[in-house]
Symmetry: C2
């Protein structure tokens, strides 16, 4: 199995290291790595100057996309699939927007499209979800699916840091980008719950219609108030199927109690739970961020392709209509140092901060 | 894919129901079911009077063993494998004793042996562990892997029941056998941690050498004392690789704190965590007991066989030498209404009850 890698940053470089260190019995080799010319010296003969040296290389079986963003990765992934290369990606942005096309192209060209690392980093989550829907019915998914914000909230809750200091610490440890807006405002989580919901329900749950409310307004005072009331504040993504083509999905801060299985999910760890008709509640826990956990998930995807396992095609049986939980659930609402519990949130803008009671 | 089922009790009957209700596109059919003559009327034409009607049936591809016990299931499983049938089992007793032979016979005969449901009921645990060891190194496993005892301890801790009443309630709900000794004394957990450790380390970790200390002596007074000291009492199986061919394994009550990921695992739920060299800590949660969770895991195994996925052969690269944690860890020791913390447990028999500080 010959592999080409697009992007040799934190994740792509991790994949390269892991594959280079696999035993020869694994029979997986990296032939080409595309990146900026500054990496040329480090990569030596394996350096690829253009994506075509990877995506159109007749010796390459699997293309690993580890660049991030949407437009360029989209171009690379479609090109690779059309050239009959299987594709492995960790890119939630492009997957959440184009998953139907990627899976269809893979099927048309007799190859595989795998994106385990796009949600939950190193957690074997998407493969488990796909296994579940093949024999069971999944109607609800909830979890902590962003390592950066869970790290920040844990640091603030447990160690009393300000958000600014917690974010600085996350950056220092490599858990946050310089611009963490996509994490803090919930865009990253929205992409991930879009992917999970779409696979679980067998229909596209449009990314752009998912309600999200960020955690930028969380303060140490709010966390103290929440704690005093017996809750823990977590940034939670939740999705519930409500009908044949309808669902409720949200990404918002939630107040949970200590007996909730998400309560002990701290720092950069992620956890996702889903409810099945036959198998009840299943849960998955692991590092949602970080070089080697994410790279390991991608190498596992390569291994699945080499064993011809993990076969799956997402078929969009019609887009889902998406609602949120605002009208029907209880909310914690904070303003000017005081909080109240509101039954149904009509106008969150009149409060300093709101969070759903989970 | 044509299936034969051995044993049509709680689990086997659940598998039969699930397969009968799969969409025809799944292409899985149950042809024969072996059980006692009393089930003949219910099973109609599919009733098999002898195991040979299943294990030697030329139309059957997969044999599902759901009988329990060791001697007879061992005979059936080996016969099925030798007749080139893939085998799916939930039987931890026979798997923990004969896994090497079962996997070898499967390989020799070009078929598969899958035992996902033998540990953790419906949790996709063994398949994930196998996926992990193919690209990573696993050095530690710990978890709550017995639904009956976790149900009993949760009922006692949270609702103040005596062990007798908690066990009666577990029986009423179908979470405990009439004779729950194998659960209470830790034999069931010992079998399961034997299977997990052996797969994780690539060598047999002998069942008979694993230290186990049961929970039969737990009283409401002990639980109150433990709680007052800030702990939660859980029945935990743990395994750590300590060298090339050595490991420490134990099944014993442990005191954990609220920030331990096992703390929110209550009632009949199970959770298993393992540490990987690259992927850090992974965790899996779900129902460790009950008809449909266990049956779902078995149907997923059948699906893996039909897709030719899940390929794996356990090769015993030499038995492991097994030690326990008694000499090196801190223990909670209770006697005559008083408790103390002991560094290294030299003689547990002089106390009414002991539990490891996890």
């Amino acid at each position: 199995m010959n592999v080409g890698i697009l992007g040799c940053g934190t994740i792509g470089g991790g994949v390269l290291n892991l594959i280079d260190n696999l035993p020869s019995s694994a029979n997986v080799k990296v032939l080409k790595v595309f990146d900026l010319p500054s990496k040329k010296e480090m990569l030596g003969e394996r350096f690829a100057e253009t994506i075509d040296e990877v995506c159109q290389n007749k010796d390459i079986d699997v293309v690993i996309e580890a660049m991030g963003g949407d437009k360029f990765p989209y171009e690379c992934i479609t090109k690779a699939l059309k050239n009959k290369k299987s594709v492995v990606t960790s890119n939630k942005e492009t997957v959440s927007l184009h998953m139907e096309e990627f899976y269809s192209l893979a099927k048309e060209n007799g190859v595989q499209f795998l994106c385990e690392a796009s949600v939950g980093g190193g957690i074997p989550l998407i493969c488990s979800l796909i296994d579940s829907i093949k024999v069971d019915k999944v109607d609800r998914i909830f979890g902590i699916i962003n390592g950066t914000t869970n790290f920040v909230l844990t640091k603030m809750s447990k160690e009393g840091l300000s958000m600014e200091d917690a974010l600085a610490e996350a950056r220092r440890l490599g858990f946050a980008e310089f611009d963490a807006t996509a994490d803090i405002e919930g865009l990253d989580l929205t992409r991930k719950i879009c992917i999970l919901s779409s696979i679980a329900y067998g229909g596209y749950v449009p990314y752009s219609e998912i309600y999200h409310y960020g955690i930028s307004k969380v303060t140490p005072e709010i966390l103290a108030d929440v704690k005093e009331k017996g809750y823990i504040l977590k940034f939670v993504a939740e999705s519930r199927r409500t009908g044949d083509k309808t669902c409720k999905v949200s990404v918002e801060p939630c107040l949970i109690t200590a007996d909730n299985p998400l309560s002990a999910v701290s720092y950069e760890f992620n956890a996702v739970y889903y409810n099945c008709a036959s198998n009840d509640l299943l849960g998955f826990y692991g590092k949602g961020a970080g070089r080697y956990p994410t790279a390991t998930a991608m190498v596992s995807d390569v291994r699945r392709i080499s064993e011809n396992a993990g076969k799956y095609t997402f078929v969009n049986n019609g887009d889902f209509k998406v609602e949120n939980f605002l009208a029907t659930e209880k909310y914690y609402a904070y303003k000017d140092g005081k909080s109240e519990i509101v039954d149904g949130m009509k106008d969150s803008s009149k409060y300093d901060f709101v969070a759903r009671i989970f």
